[in-house]
């Protein structure tokens, strides 16, 4: 393991991933992945296409089942649990391919995501979502399948927020979007950080994560190869050149 000081262990750890192996059929995708996410912090999980970012996110969300290892949230082991149990434990998952309910209206998408947080908190309501995402308020009766990619991305994030998560898993939220939309998503994530939510942000693009995340982990071929603060990663040319497409 290369890297300097491990920023993410500062303070208390809300989500801890230890030694998870994930297989798709017979092929092994993740090899003993470890991650620690500090409460209220944002961790960027960086890596090239196919490095294992999405699989790691899916494993935490319960969509992919780890064959080994543990995933603990506030001390509760969640590895191998169903996605709905993990979601109710306070982990909100925003998939990379958006997966809005295309036949439902924008508002119905939000209502399906509505639930109380793990401490019974109802910080995110329809009103607050519409306040934070004015574009969704304007489109609330529109069928979600008719929205643009950027709008759908906003909707998936908002839909997950309606479940009042303590940890938000954002899987490549900037992928395939126009630069101006990417910037809007970045601004949104910065706004969310101020609410105190913990974020795990899977990204290929380190520059997108600068100014958004404090901590960084780099994954390559299913192994975590580097852990540091995002500033430390940026300064480390050897790692960025070797593992990131920059």
């Amino acid at each position: 393991m290369t890297g300097g000081t491990n920023g993410s262990t500062a303070g208390d750890v809300i989500l801890k991933v230890e030694g998870i192996d994930v297989f798709y059929g017979a092929s092994k995708i993740l090899f003993g992945v470890d991650l620690e996410v500090g409460r209220g912090r944002t961790l960027a999980l960086l890596g090239r296409n196919g490095a294992g970012k999405s699989t790691t996110m899916k494993a935490i969300a319960g969509i992919a089942r780890p064959r080994k290892g543990s995933i603990t949230m506030e001390g509760q082991n969640l590895a191998g649990e169903r996605p709905d149990i993990i979601a109710r434990a306070g982990i909100g998952y925003v998939p990379e391919d958006r997966q809005v309910f295309t036949m439902h209206s924008v508002e119905d998408n939000l209502l399906i995501g509505m639930k109380k947080g793990i401490r019974g908190q109802e910080d995110w309501t329809l009103e607050r979502v519409y306040d934070t995402f004015p574009i969704l308020a304007r489109m609330k009766d529109r069928r979600a399948g008719l929205m643009s990619g950027g709008e759908q991305q906003m909707l998936t994030i908002a839909r997950t927020l309606m479940g009042n998560p303590d940890v938000l898993l954002l899987d490549e939220p900037s992928e395939g979007l126009a630069p101006i939309i990417v910037q809007a998503i970045g601004d949104l994530i910065r706004t969310l950080r101020e609410t105190g939510v913990t974020i795990v942000l899977a990204e290929q693009n380190m520059h997108f994560c600068l100014g958004i995340s404090e901590d960084a982990a780099v994954i390559d071929k299913g192994h975590i190869v580097y852990r540091d603060t995002i500033a430390g990663l940026r300064a480390n040319e050897e790692v960025t050149k070797r593992y990131l497409a920059i």
């Binding site: 709905d84 998952y93 998939p95 309910f101 439902h104 209502l111 399906i112 995501g113 639930k115 479940g163």
Partner: protein
Amino acid sequence: MIDFDALAACLSTSACLVNQATSGLIIGMLLFLVASGVTLIFGVLHVINFAHGSFYMIGAYFAYTTYVLTGNYFLAALVGAVGAGICGILFERLIISRVYGQNLLMQLLVCYAFILIVDDLVKIIWGAEYLAMGIPAEFRLPPLRFAGGFVPPFYLFLVGIAVFIGVGSVLLVTKTRFGKIVRAAALNAPMVSALGIRVNVYFALLFGFGCALAGVAGALAAPVRSLTPGMGLGILVESFIVTVIGGMGSIPGAFLAAIILGLTRSIGSVGFPLFVDGAMFMIMALVLIFRPTGLLGQGAVR
């Protein structure tokens, strides 16, 4: 084969027309209730419940016994519906959920085994001979006269309840949070699950609701039809025809198709009594040729 004289004689007298239309509507509404359960379950769970007729039978027998014990038909109908619904949830959880996504033959075999077991259970509990509930005390009123024909009050009640439940089912699926979740889960269950929703519970409840619709139909049929083990099979076949004609997944389609088939049955019993079943299958074949998705079908519940 076709008795044109009898057909013309009936169609030209309003009394006969009213009587045949009424009995056609009764058959149609029973078919509609059973078929809307089949179509809902298929539209959401993508599984064809070949055992659906058994829940019709369960509803009828539960209603019969409740009526015999209490003399209260409304309670009997409620017990028939709820009892069939609970049996449906158990059937879904214990049996059919294990064959979701498996090939059709496996689902068919499992359902057929269930049909045989339930038929035998009914024989053990209620006996193999025909039972008749008769028109319930609440409805032993003089028939209403309408354009020369007679319409028993129970028939009006049956049609009213069926329409009410049909409208309620559509609203349940399209307007309630339950319906929205279930429709979303039909298309993308893992995503709905990742939002914290126990998808399995919703699927079981929807399955139970579909079976409760068959149970209501059974309870409504009990006063006008005789009860016998195996009574589920006939209605099952007809409700499949209704589902195919109306369009898999479409409740309004099931309603339309059920009325068409009900009228075909009642008018056919006058004009071509030997070809009633044949006529129904012919209508189905024509619909499949000219409109393979069914009259109002879109492939899934919308």
